[in-house]
Symmetry: D2
Subunit: 380 residues, 4 copies
């Protein structure tokens, strides 16, 4: 198995998500990080490259230099894919430039600053014939695959209710201006986009709900709030959802749920039963039934749907977590980059849906209308 | 301690809630059931009275006969209070008649069929000088008292988020017409009122949220659904709430959450922390904090607020449940009936708020407006 | 349904278990408390009788006076059964005297101070033809019945492992001499007997294990410890068990497990699966399997064994607890006292087994031998 | 940061633990796998090397060839450390040979086949001046470090009780002879050693207990059982433990606890409180107290002991699991190999204690004596 070569833009020392990408890429031995433009701060950029053991020539001063530099290398040496782990406003220009230059791209979420930008990425991917993956990490958990397969098989019957929540508490205090790098850009409209909490974690919740149900939200009614004085973007999202086929949903995302860590949970109920999954205990999927005891389905356990066991690296009871879920995305992406096809990973379609969700919520929250549509018919 | 004498209307054999009232009244030895009009079916009425060991003369053929018969008895023999455990449409006429006749009343929820009826009960209570209690049972749990006291003391800081849910699955199938007595009247507008799930359990959720926060909802936006074909009332409620002071809430109540039993949960987040309580494990209250580990506060455990320990009958770790919570209402009501004053129990104010909630949700759900007001200023 | 008449010895104000007996007896309307000798302290005795609303003539100054006084009453007025809720050293003399006088007896555990005393009770019950029940309360939980029925049906296959624990922390500090009434007599050999923690809660653990497995322990190896300086009886028990048929067990009971409340747990594993039950969340029984997902069996839920649902008073999800479990014993005892027969309750056989366990553990703990026998063949 | 170079013996395709070692070594970028002798089956060995992307010249036909081959390479190319991931009987000869040849060694547990062999490894490490790490993986979890630090600080007061369990169910059926590679060698005395379940997982339980308490077991009383007919080694261990200072412990390890996955749990109680940790939910440490509510200490959460946060890679609520715990051992080992010193990892002392435990249990289980000593005074 040949290792693939990865370049990264963003993710300098002190950043959170860049380091996670590197661990996820390394875990299964599919990827070698070979190049990077980690920071516009020269010292920080160089230090990061050194710490990572990169050849100095491939630690680039800018994204543009990296694209140019890598293109100039022989095909069997240059990076094959670019991981874009910058603040949101850079996703679209960088992803498009990388695709246009012939690189496959794995980009952080949200996809871009607007639906329009997302469509431009979609167009660039199509035109270039290159692959585009989006880091909706939570869809990489085995029990999410299991849940999706069971819903698809009809275990629950027709879906009636969807309850999805993503609760964090880390923005409860006004740390935006206190030099907290993570908080700073996420609450800055120029870098984060129209949504604060909405774009950062509301999109994860929305994506997970549509992904597992395989149903599209047709209309949304939303209440968008900024609880912390002085904050420039929302830190709290409430939304009611109407799905195609008649299912009703509620979505809650908040970054001021004081004391909560990273509480993404999904519950789905159909005619015959319901399921429940919680990201903080991700190896368990509870299935409840009208007519028999609830079941605890487990990562690596008995009676999993086809393909799910392959997402696990250890016997049941040896917990796998967030990095492993992330690695499942890198592994699926690697298979596609290698041309082996295979397993699904989130990409253009997922990105467009979530950007439409952001725009619909923002429009609805600013209006007196109860419902705003979400164009459920599209099939990009 | 003299025992108080209770009469009951409704609650014939096979009914659920009447039997619970009787156990709750018996548990602490405060009440003796002395009279009843349990059913309009003569045989059922008589059998119930016999099973309960009542004197045959005090098993009445009708509510009216019971009121007349008990009034005719000497003061030290006749019932002092009447428990109204009939379908909803009978609450107001019976409560008013009992109050007018000089009895204290403990009534099942929802209070009545409309705000107007509820106001009539309120007026009757005021005019008669009699006490009126409403069976918002869940407010009888010790950990609900603890939560309320901690919020009041400011442990969480100003409240920002309120998430309340009440999920059941027992109406997932169309059992309404299958002779299930519980399902039948609860889905019949003539007996249940305007709300189905909304009135039956949505009111519990709403009451618990306002009760623990001590904040009133100012506006509601709702989506009311009937998932089961042929059902005549809603079986599913989604609502967004805006509280006085700026807190945001979400309320979900459903009787088609297949596989759920009686999952009433409440989470409240303030500036500095959050709390979580779940009715199905009612002796635990989780307190989460921004700056220190979460705490597991326990019924009967250390560091409870004043008065809370008195709501418990056994040492910590000997679980108390639903019947004990219910008994706490009967105990508090007994203290008031005896003129000892003392502990709070839900009554007229709680009933009016929940009826206003029902009407606001129904109005909002039928309209295109996003928000409907809930008259937060009233202080009956 | 005629109510039965109960007399009580012990259980004056401030005592824990007497009050629980009274609530358990009252809950289902089977019993009226009609007489008592609650305390040898006259004031305390009188106050307790008054609080309970007893006729003053039936609040007796002593146990002997109560037995004599009640026997002198007409048959349709005098107490039918006596609840013995005194410290352990009084169980045998009082139970025997009550049986000999023609009363049925419901006695607290442990049965007596020795196997010899227990055998004398057994003989008195046999000679008098009266019924003897023993308050092994935890066997009154519906999920314990469910577990026993499933083991009996062979769901788990042949039993291999039994892990039973009973952990409390309330004796972690030397409160024995601090005027804590509960602690005082439980740590006094003259009143508690040979075992401290062993007799108080170790017997519950042992009983539950044998009861659910329907297997007898053949041999025990034990380590008995007194952790708190100055304490006169053990406060901590470790034991290894060998069951008939080859199953292996471990039993842990401690009253110095600081921070634990009342953590009685039972796990049983057989060839094909295992089960787990925890008293502090008593409405759940987890069944684990080799070849399929674990199941969460619930009080009041679907697929229960015959007879188990009858032990529950409310729909699933309305938690029932310790008092309800206790009430199930009083209800089963009532059925037998009425001559309706029916449901099992713990009695002479259970008491003798647990007394033999106490004596075997004490003998073994004092010796260098690894194993001491427990006479598994007996079938009293 | 220069990457270190690792060679591996054992861990050919299909093996479980070798792959885990490789992921753990890769996760943080500290190690590059550069050489291996993965299997004595030539095809399997070659395929494994190819899949891992090794240079063919460094995929060796035997351990001896690997040691010789690597020694012959220049110092800046040859492997610096050897991971020994073979069945148990090869640990000692290979570890000793590797140490003698100047390599640092990270070895799977149990350390060897006997105390004598372990002492030989200890002597070889001392003589060579090379480092020896032992894969007691569970001590790599952050919450284990937290627990150990809190016990050391005296939060619980003097320790009284230690309850440790390791329950698996995967050997419930007689799969030993069915071609299950994992089961086969683990139940073969010639390859696994004197203990079956005892050596495989009992050692983990014992190590964790002594490690977190920082107390040594002085004496053990044990019951060793083989439940599955035809199995050649124990599949079930019960033991009572006496610790220095008077603490009492119970240890249960079983591989026939049908339905259990990998349920390693540790509870420790002292004078003032207790702690509980469960490997299957490893990011939570519950602290219980006599006088205040229990606390939920969390990986990455507030109020951790110094150094513990550094063992975590993601913000709290992004679960880390078994591979991350394993990577913590590789990271600590790397720091020592680089001469940076620093963090503790399990090694010779841990190995010797666990081997003494194995021998003491086997001796005790075969005798009628209740207690066998464990030489608590040694301080290798």
């Amino acid at each position: 198995m040949t290792r693939l070569r990865l370049a990264m833009v963003g993710g300098g020392e002190g950043a959170f998500i860049g380091a996670v990408h590197r661990m996820a890429a390394a875990l299964d031995g599919d990827w070698d990080l070979v190049a990077g433009a980690f920071s516009t701060d020269t010292g920080r950029n160089t230090r990061t490259g050194t710490q990572l053991g990169l050849a100095p020539a491939r630690v680039y001063a800018s994204f543009e230099a990296m694209i140019a530099g890598e293109r100039a290398l022989p095909a069997d040496i240059r990076a094959q894919a670019v991981a874009v782990v910058t603040p949101n406003h850079l996703h679209a220009p960088m992803a498009i430039a990388a695709l246009d230059a012939g690189f496959d791209v794995l980009c952080e979420k949200p996809m871009a600053m607007s639906v329009a930008e997302s469509e431009a990425i979609a167009a660039a991917a199509k035109a270039s014939g290159r692959h585009f993956a989006l880091a909706f990490t939570y869809s990489g958990y085995p029990m999410i695959d299991e849940a999706r397969a069971r819903v698809a098989r009809g275990d629950l019957g027709a879906i009636r209710l969807v309850q999805v929540e993503y609760l964090q508490g880390w923005l409860s205090l006004p740390i935006d201006g206190d030099g907290n790098r993570q908080a700073e850009w996420r609450t800055d409209p120029a870098r984060a986009g129209l949504g604060g909490c909405l774009g950062d974690i509301g999109t994860h919740a929305f994506h997970l709900a549509e992904h597992v149900c395989a149903l599209r939200v047709e209309a949304v009614s939303a209440d968008l709030t900024t609880h912390v004085p002085g904050r420039r973007l929302d830190d709290d999202v409430s939304a009611m959802l109407r799905f195609e086929g008649g299912a009703r949903g509620m979505l809650k995302a908040s970054q001021v749920a004081a004391g909560e860590e990273n509480a993404l949970t999904l519950r789905i109920y159909g005619e015959r039963g319901g399921l429940e999954w919680a990201q903080m205990e991700p190896n368990t999927l509870v299935m409840r039934w009208l007519d028999r005891p609830a079941e605890i389905v487990r990562t690596g356990g008995p009676a999993l749907q086809p393909g799910v066991a392959a997402l696990t690296r250890t016997p049941s009871g040896h917990p796998e977590g967030y990095i492993e879920a992330f690695a499942n995305l890198y592994r699926a992406f690697a298979a596609t980059v290698r041309g082996e096809g295979g397993r699904w990973f989130p990409g253009v379609v997922d990105g467009l849906r979530t950007m439409r969700f952001i725009e619909a919520v923002i429009a609805n929250a600013a209006s007196d209308r109860k419902w705003s549509p979400l164009y459920p018919g599209e099939t990009e």
